[in-house]
């Protein structure tokens, strides 16, 4: 009877997330039951299955509607981006509205649903459909008499669908103690998907669960899903896996001295950064610095604000010297401001996904992260944030998150318990000392870099965040006026040292001058003595010469003995007696 097909052949639904949960889609060539309360999205899921089948997988489909008319259907799903008319015109889709009005019928004797079979068979054959949806087929029970015949005919219908080899979705409304009012699960037993629509904490959440999938493993959890302008998105709770690429590229924090603390270069691109701190410690200012620096580099920044409006953020950042307005005008910075309570987590996550897809930023800022948390939804928030972080990492987007730490709780505590997902974690502290409250910053962790271990005081000045030098006193890091006192003392000490060395240099100079004067005086004295001595020697020589001359003169006058003269003045005598 059933055409032979490979075991576990699956038809992808094309619905984001659902194919992940079911391991590839719905069972091919078999009917699947989709059930749930009114308004939980059954019809839409079924319609998206057909639309995706027609547009992506070349599998035309037949939609048999037992409640809504074709016009209503195409109007309803147009808001989700499905153009049924175009698909119908392209012979990829047939929408057949089965109109049943109990009061118009009279039953007299035996009947069967051969008309429905013929009708469906004709629709399938007319476009070569591979997919079929029977939307709210149970309304037959209200519209036609004789439930016994109907049951038998429905059983025959599902068997007939299997024989046709079409992949079918049958939707049904949840009944008392049964998955569907008419107990359709009795006939459709290959795959059952249960949809749910629950309100918790005033926020409604849609959930999907694969209750049964014969012959296949499947995710057994309840998965939140959302319906928006792009159809259905199921969010598998579990992560996609850790396959993102880690770059060594760095991005500046926008605060030069903070970059220096992060081994000189700032954060890693594509990493997740958490800034946690108590109220008023400057988390948003740090985010502003980061955003402004990124925009100045020409990067795009998407800023999700959950506490302040964009204009409030821009004004407040302006007060600490960060001017974000030009970047917004240039289209490099985009704000997405919503109240956390505006929508359920899933819708938030999906809105964020879409905004990120649309804007293609390099940096995403979420300020603050923990505003989503209300009583009792930590696991969901964590799951959601994990999805967001995974998505950002896969897209190589740097994620910058702030987290408000409640007063009194440990600093390394985040409400969302996402610390393990974070690569770089900065903690902003308020240090109470000496009757003051001062801000300080430390790096709790930063994966993959040699970061500073110091607690640094910083000031929020009108030129932005300024990290101060570190002064460690007896009671820890000195901050505020204690630091100023310490700074003054150090300055004084330095001044006196400088003065002292100046003085000793002057003394030395003086000594040198004195010594040199002494040397000069000695030289002068020596020169005098030398001159005297030389003069004396000269005088003595002159005297001796003169004496000799006088003697020879005398001898000449006296005509002294030549011999004697010869012996004494030989030259003169010889000269005169040629």
């Amino acid at each position: 009877m059933i055409p032979a097909r490979p075991p576990l052949a699956k038809s992808p639904t094309g619905i984001q997330g659902l194919d992940e949960i079911t391991g590839g889609g719905l069972p091919s060539g078999r009917p699947t039951l989709v059930c749930g309360d009114a308004g939980c999205g059954k019809t839409l899921l079924a319609m998206e299955f057909l639309v995706r089948g027609a547009t992506r997988f070349k599998e035309p489909g037949v939609f048999m509607a037992f409640e809504e008319t074709a016009a209503e259907l195409s109007q309803n799903v147009a808001s989700l981006g499905f153009d049924l008319e175009a698909l119908i015109a392209a012979e990829l889709l047939v929408v057949d509205h089965v109109y049943l009005e109990r009061s118009e019928f009279e039953e007299t004797g035996e009947f069967d649903l051969e008309g429905l079979f013929i009708r469906l068979g004709f629709a399938i054959d007319s476009i070569g459909a591979r997919r079929v949806v029977l939307d709210m087929v149970e309304t037959l029970f209200a519209g036609l008499p004789n439930p016994l015949i109907l049951r038998a005919e429905l059983r025959r219908l599902f068997r007939w669908l299997k024989n046709k080899g079409v992949t079918a979705i049958i939707t049904g409304e949840r009944g008392e103690g049964l998955l569907t009012r008419a107990g359709l699960e009795e006939y459709v037993s290959d795959c059952v998907i249960v949809l749910d629509h629950r309100v918790a904490n005033l926020v409604s959440t849609r959930r999907l669960r694969v209750a049964k999938y014969r012959g296949s493993t499947h995710g057994t959890n309840e998965y939140p899903f959302i319906i928006d302008a792009d159809g259905i998105t199921v969010l598998p709770v579990t992560s996609l896996g850790l396959q993102h690429i880690a770059t060594t590229q760095r991005v500046s924090t926008g605060v030069p001295r903070l970059d220096a603390m992060l081994s000189g270069a700032g954060f890693y691109r594509g990493s997740s950064i958490l800034v946690s701190g108590t109220a008023g410690t400057g988390k948003t200012s740090l985010a502003g610095h980061f955003a402004a620096a990124a925009c100045a580099r020409g990067e795009r920044v998407l800023y999700f604000a959950f506490e302040e409006s964009p204009s409030q953020i821009i004004r407040n950042q302006g007060s600490v010297g960060i001017d974000l307005a030009p970047w917004v005008q240039q289209g490099l910075l985009q704000f997405q401001a919503t109240r956390p309570s505006f929508a359920g987590l899933e819708l938030h996550l999906t809105t964020m996904h879409k905004a990120i897809h649309g804007f293609q930023p390099q940096i995403v800022i979420v300020d603050p992260l923990n505003s989503f948390i209300t009583a009792g939804n930590e696991t969901e928030v964590k799951a959601m944030l994990m999805r967001l972080l995974d998505f950002l990492k896969l897209s190589q987007i740097t994620g910058f998150f702030t987290s408000l730490t409640a007063g009194g709780s440990p600093l390394d505590n985040t409400d969302a318990a996402i610390s393990s997902l974070i690569d770089t974690w900065l903690v902003l502290l308020a240090i109470d000392a000496g009757g003051e409250r001062n801000r300080a910053l430390s790096i709790l962790k930063s994966r993959g870099m040699a970061h500073s271990n110091q607690i640094r005081e910083f000031l929020l000045t009108d030129q932005g965040m300024q990290l101060r030098d570190v002064y460690v006193g007896p009671g820890g890091v000195l901050t505020g006026s204690a630091r100023l006192t310490q700074e003054a003392q150090e300055a004084e000490l330095a001044l006196s040292r400088r003065q002292e060395s100046e003085r000793s240099r002057r003394e030395l100079e003086h000594k040198r001058a004195t010594l040199e004067a002494q040397i000069a005086a000695l030289r002068t004295e020596f020169a005098l003595q030398e001159a005297d001595a030389l003069a004396l020697i000269e005088r003595h020589q002159a005297h001796a010469t003169q004496a000799a001359q006088e003697r020879s003169q005398m001898a000449l006058i006296r005509h002294a003995d030549t011999a004697a003269a010869d012996t004494t003045d030989g030259d003169d005598t010889a000269g005169r007696q040629p």
Partner: protein
């Protein structure tokens, strides 16, 4: 394929406002459809003698009509004229209910 309809077309004056236009939808010559046709013909001849027209539609031959006429159950008898449209499903074995369905007997019986 010949259906019982071929020899049932005995419209005396088709345009008369009094003429009933009845359509019987069947799927092949099944025992149910033959029974239904026989029952219909008998009832019409008894109660609408000379002013009825029966058209038998075999959906196996004209499957596209099932959608246009909103046919699910087989056999289905549709009273197209006089208006409003009435539908009776089944093999028409309960004459009284057929008459009620065709407004030939008051409902609050």
């Amino acid at each position: 394929m010949t259906t019982p309809a071929d020899d049932a077309r005995t419209p005396p004056d088709q345009d008369s406002p009094d003429t009933w236009t009845l359509r019987l939808y069947v799927a092949g010559q099944t025992p149910k459809s033959i029974t239904a046709f026989d029952n219909l013909k008998r009832i019409c001849e008894e109660h609408l003698a000379g002013r009825f027209q029966i058209e038998v539609i075999d959906l196996l031959e004209q499957p596209q009509l099932a959608r246009g006429d909103q046919i699910l159950a087989i056999p289905t008898l549709v009273r197209r004229l006089p208006e409003p449209v009435r539908k009776i499903i089944g093999d028409l074995s309960n004459t009284e209910r057929v008459l009620i369905g065709l407004d030939l007997l008051p409902r609050a019986h």
